[in-house]
């Protein structure tokens, strides 16, 4: 029987909760990102470190070496599969090292994923459906968080999984479960803070150039400024100017390990700074997201 395409057919189904639409926003956002060839280039750059570590771990674990020697070998390549004397581990260091590429990717993503909704007047398209601004904001935050997680949390967990797998023992995963928790904790902090800041900045600035300039100022300029001021005053509190360092400190706070006592104190200040920053940003974002552009 031929399908009748010429006439209108109704639809009788049950509509789901508007919160389910948040997942659709994430799906479409990832589709938008992966459709752009420039993003593939940045993603490929971001994956280089991951592939390098993956190969190193694979190569080292294939050698018949005692565990201690294996660790030494890995350290030669700047990776530590266990928590070291400085309370660091290779997975967290890997995520921190992804900072620059994440920042670049996000600077470009902001305009595409959020700025375009404002620039092209697409907000009424979203908000005239059954979702309201809460669903829109949560959906966009999850979308940006997904982009971040693809470059940070996901590869770090894959490396953790790989090491355990190739050492042919579940003991590594069981003994080092805190590493996986620390990866998730640090990843959550990165995702939450970066997504809130990026979505808010993009909602106000909309276009790629102002977003990139502002984003770079926050994450590069402030970081260098903090280093400079700390170097000249010898006061470690100036480090708190660097949001990326703040995120690392708060990540450590979740895990509870610090290699310096001052870091523990700084971590609480970092938490206060990031919480304030996120609260102010969210308030500004809620104010900005509305279906009707009101010119007063």
């Amino acid at each position: 029987m031929q399908i009748d395409q010429a006439h209108y057919h109704g639809w009788q189904g049950q509509l789901q909760s508007p919160w389910v639409a948040c997942l659709a926003i994430v799906r479409v956002a990832l589709l938008q990102v992966f459709r752009n060839k420039a993003y593939w280039f940045v993603l490929a750059l971001g994956m280089l470190r991951f592939l390098a570590f993956w190969t190193i771990i694979y190569a080292v674990t294939q050698l018949s070496l005692p565990p201690d020697m294996r660790q030494q070998f890995l350290k030669l390549f700047g990776f530590s599969a266990n928590v070291d004397a400085d309370q660091n581990n290779g997975y967290i260091m890997f995520m921190a090292g992804q900072g620059v590429i994440v920042m670049i990717l996000l600077a470009f993503s902001g305009s595409l994923l959020v700025g375009s909704d404002f620039r092209l007047n697409s907000l009424p398209f979203y908000l005239s459906r059954r979702i309201d601004k809460r669903h829109y904001i949560v959906g966009k935050l999850l979308a940006v968080s997904s982009v971040i997680a693809i470059l940070t949390v996901l590869p770090a967990l894959l490396l953790f999984f790989e090491y355990g797998m190739f050492t042919a023992s579940t003991a590594y995963w069981v003994d080092n479960w805190r590493i996986a928790v620390s990866v998730l904790a640090f990843g959550s902090v990165i995702c939450v803070v970066n997504s809130i800041l990026l979505v808010t900045i993009s909602a106000y600035l909309q276009r790629i150039v102002p977003i990139t300039i502002t984003w770079a100022s926050i994450f590069l300029l402030l970081g260098r400024l903090g280093d400079l001021l700390q170097w000249s005053t010898k006061d470690d509190f100036w480090f708190l100017l660097d949001p990326w360092r703040d995120m690392r400190l708060v990540g450590r706070l979740c895990f509870g390990t610090f290699n310096r006592d001052i870091d523990r104190e700084l971590a609480w200040w970092a938490l206060l700074i990031l919480t304030s920053l996120c609260t102010i940003s969210l308030a500004a974002l809620v104010r900005r997201v509305r279906a009707v552009e009101i010119v007063e």
């Binding site: 395409q5 010429a6 006439h7 209108y8 057919h9 109704g10 639809w11 009788q12 189904g13 049950q14 509509l15 789901q16 909760s17 508007p18 389910v20 639409a21 659709a24 926003i25 479409v28 589709l31 938008q32 459709r35 752009n36 595409l112 375009s116 909704d117 092209l120 007047n121 697409s122 009424p124 398209f125 979203y126 908000l127 005239s128 459906r129 059954r130 979702i131 309201d132 279906a291 009707v292 009101i294 010119v295 007063e296």
Partner: protein, 314 residues
């Protein structure tokens, strides 16, 4: 149950009062919301959809409260915005599917419906094109498809033919006409193009500076001018004209004494057969007697002018 039932809606933006005490009761069907630019049409549409909260007043659409029941309301209403409102990098079918997802449809249903409605609006062949590659006319069709995807009972269309070339406009109007005829859906059409409303709508709301100056069916509004007749005759013009004046008939426009074609305004309870009797008595022969069908454009200017005079007098 009324389709739209709102009372005393007001909404201001700073010092500008976009809506002033709007009260409306409209039956299901096709409704045209007309007014000049800045009359408050889009604001009223957005208040009805719950996108804007009114400063005062309230009401219902299909029984759903416009202030509190917006989630249920939007499940039954499809909105086609005036602005481009596209999501970059998506293809047509993905955009419409996404619209269905945002309404809360299960994703598989949304995707299937997207193909159906795209076929229906005539974009079946173009469904896999990126949105950036659509022409203005096709983009309007696409937005209509996105508004239809969840099969709403009411469509709110904000300037659906805006920016279209004549052929595109005719095609869009034809599509809407077919949709109305086939599905019986109610349509709330907001536009300043009176021809669009005249072609599609049975009920009309005229907005002027945020106030409803007239609301009703086209025939109701035309009834108010059914006392106007156009006459043409052969024979002595002055005598026939004088006889008309004696019978209480007035001339709508200033005319010359010798003119044999005039627009008249007749008194109440005036029968058209009287024209023939007066003509026979005056020695004239009527060659044309036509009730004045006021078109929407004249009607619009008349009611807005009356509203301006009333507000000036107040």
């Amino acid at each position: 149950m009324h389709l739209v039932d709102v009372q005393h809606l007001s909404r201001s933006f700073g010092n500008v009062r976009a809506l002033r005490d709007v009260t409306l009761s409209l039956e299901p069907g096709t409704i045209g919301l007309i007014g000049n630019n800045g009359a408050g049409k889009s604001t009223l549409l957005k208040v009805l959809l719950g996108l804007l909260k009114p400063d005062s007043g309230g009401g219902t659409i299909m029984g759903c409260d416009i202030s509190h029941g917006t989630s249920e309301l939007r499940g039954r209403v499809g909105y086609m915005p005036e602005a481009a409102a596209i999501v970059p990098m998506l293809k047509g079918v993905e955009f419409v599917t996404f619209g269905g997802d945002l309404y809360g449809m299960p994703h598989r249903d949304a995707r299937r419906r997207a193909h159906e409605v795209l076929n229906y609006v005539g974009l079946g062949e173009l469904r896999y094109r990126r949105l950036e590659e659509y022409s203005a006319g096709n983009l309007q069709r696409l937005k209509l498809a996105a508004a239809l995807v969840h099969d709403p009972q009411l469509l709110l269309l904000d300037e659906p033919t805006n920016g279209l070339d004549p052929a595109g406009r005719v095609a869009m109007l034809q599509l809407l006409e077919d949709l109305i005829a086939e599905t019986g859906k109610s349509i709330f059409l907001c536009t300043h193009l009176l021809g669009d409303v005249e072609r599609l709508c049975r009920q009309i709301v005229v907005l002027d500076r945020g106030t409803v100056v007239r609301a009703g069916t086209m025939s109701e509004m035309r009834d108010q001018v059914s006392n106007r007749y156009e006459l043409s005759w052969m024979g002595p013009a002055p005598a026939f004209r004088a006889a008309l004046v004696v019978a209480g008939v007035e001339f709508a426009d200033p005319t010359d004494e010798g003119q044999t074609k005039v627009m008249t305004v007749v008194p109440a309870n005036f029968s058209t057969t009287t024209f023939f009797e007066i003509a026979r008595a005056a020695g004239a022969v009527l060659t044309e007697l036509k009730a004045d069908e006021e078109n929407l454009e004249r009607l619009f200017f008349r009611v807005t002018e009356q509203a301006s005079q009333t507000s000036a007098a107040v």
